[in-house]
Symmetry: C2
Subunit: 405 residues, 2 copies
Amino acid sequence: MALIVQKYGGTSVGNPDRIKNVARRVAQYRAAGDQIVVVVSAMSGVTDGLIRLSKEITALPSEREMDMLLATGEQQTIALTAIALHSLNVDAVSLTGAQAGIVTDGVHTKAKIQNITPREVHKLLDAGNVVIVAGFQGQTAEGAITTLGRGGSDLTAIALAAALKADLCQIYTDVDGIYTADPRIVPGAQKLPEIAYDELLELAGAGAKVMQLRSVEFAKKFNVIFEVRSSLNENPGTIVKEETTSMEDVVVRGVSLDKNQAKITLFGVPDQPGRAAGIFRALADAAINVDMIVQNASHDGGVRVTDLSFTVDKPDLLKASKVIESLRPTIGFKEAESNENIGKVSVVGVGMRSHSGVAAKMFDVLAHEQVNIDMISTSEIKVSVVIDLAKGETALRALHKAFLE
Amino acid sequence: MALIVQKYGGTSVGNPDRIKNVARRVAQYRAAGDQIVVVVSAMSGVTDGLIRLSKEITALPSEREMDMLLATGEQQTIALTAIALHSLNVDAVSLTGAQAGIVTDGVHTKAKIQNITPREVHKLLDAGNVVIVAGFQGQTAEGAITTLGRGGSDLTAIALAAALKADLCQIYTDVDGIYTADPRIVPGAQKLPEIAYDELLELAGAGAKVMQLRSVEFAKKFNVIFEVRSSLNENPGTIVKEETTSMEDVVVRGVSLDKNQAKITLFGVPDQPGRAAGIFRALADAAINVDMIVQNASHDGGVRVTDLSFTVDKPDLLKASKVIESLRPTIGFKEAESNENIGKVSVVGVGMRSHSGVAAKMFDVLAHEQVNIDMISTSEIKVSVVIDLAKGETALRALHKAFLE
């Protein structure tokens, strides 16, 4: 008898019929004799509808009250899922995040899980129930309702799997698993049978929108093995786990294209200690996430100066440009330039650690496709380049062909 | 500085604009320096929508899970009401029933309040907040979410007013208060400045749909004085309180017409001890509520037999008829007859206790209108008669004119 945690996203529980489908799948697993904990999101559209209601009242609602409001979405789904299981003669009990013992800090709308006391979950499982837990939510030690922010339901499932020492954690979604590249762009993309946490982190960070980074980071930290699979069919998905030696046989696990970055370049920054720190501290204070940073070798221009480029999320570009402009007197750069028409192409794989020449091969492939490289950034298991947005998909396909087909 | 509990029903908080109106009214009271606790229902339509979703899954959802589902309706309203108060720069905090310390028994969908520990409410009030509490809900001592059934939000307000020793409890609704008769039927109906608990109980029991009996019973038991008034204007409403001697100066406080009753008559019931008990125990076991019971004097028919009439709620008639038919062998009555075309007309007033002749005057008025009386039932402060449904409104108007104009 195994203990399985299954998580179903908003599309999978989007209406009563889909909730009945989820219940049928859960009932199958239950009939095989396993203990099942189900984590569900709000029905798709419910959360957006609640946000719209709040915006009709005020543009800037309090975060505590938004948590109180939004937590009702998942609470509705757990009740309906329990009702659907009952109609299949499966014993089931729903629990809110608070009732399931999920304790968070008090940072409303993006709370962090502090600990989980799964006493009630264990008790109900041992009594023969499927236990259905509201994703995305918890409560503070003082009893205030909190939500975990984007990707919160995945996090609930993975954290519960860790706390319950579950044998298996399945993240059901509307795709079949994790692919070597986005199949909408690369027709030859293949589903991966398994992938290392670090590879998934690099791919997610490189724009592959499978899961939020924090859930994968949590899983890595607590060594929770999970499977990403589809709620629409019975196909096996992709197992995400700690790196194994056999994974190194594959040099590149996947390639990705991130179209959501913009680039800012500062020309003529005086090459003195503290200038770069001043720039990135100001951006961090404005809650702007900086991804790639490249600084060219300094050159002479009266005093020694250098050029500095970095990328930010496209929606943050305007805000970032304003921060940069406000720094001109203190930093003393000559000129700032921004460019939204860029794409970031990455190749990812733990096998790179023991194989040299990945970057060289990547640049060869891009040169052969007449793609000009604008910025380069590397990690132990990833090489990313910034290129012209218009060449993004061509570059992705060429890299997939060269490394993965 | 007074402590005021205000309750707003589903229509009063039916959309974001109405919630803003409620917030403006609350802000006015708060600006006068009073401490305010606001109890709200679900936005009108929300509860019905959730019930519809559950019915799409199964016809008979579990009551525990229906409580989990429906409790979200009020939770959404408290959050939106708090957000609306913030936008008026009024400090406000929302609390679910559980967070407000409302502990109930475990009878899901119609739980009874066992006790209220308003520590959190007091703490938040003392810190300068308006406290917004979700009506209709509580939790068991074990932490399961419960709902209080029909009229539950009124009950939450009155029970909180008792627990907080509030100076004033206001029940805001879409009517101006309690009237001498239904103004849609009787054009001369007047709003009552005050009414005794017992009178309101008899009027509610007699079909006037102002408030559920249990909320009024609770208020009477704990001597909570409350005001029924409109959320759409500033008119004073009706104060509901313990009977005072001055109330006896008015013989009849109000008249009502209940069109929702049906009558069953059993002819030729053997006049032996235990026969009536057998009938009404069987009906009670089937959860059928019996209102009026009339037994005629027995007469000779071989053995001595009697005729027995009683009324039930119209939707229960079919079920009641089946129960009665199943009793024929054991009870041994000759014939059963049912009639849906009846109306119950009642006159109510604590002044009746010290004034004789109310019944006689009532029968005179009805005779003058050519209304035939079918059944009669009296209490200390009420006389009810069953008549032909078609004559109901005529009778009500005539009685209002004779007693109240």
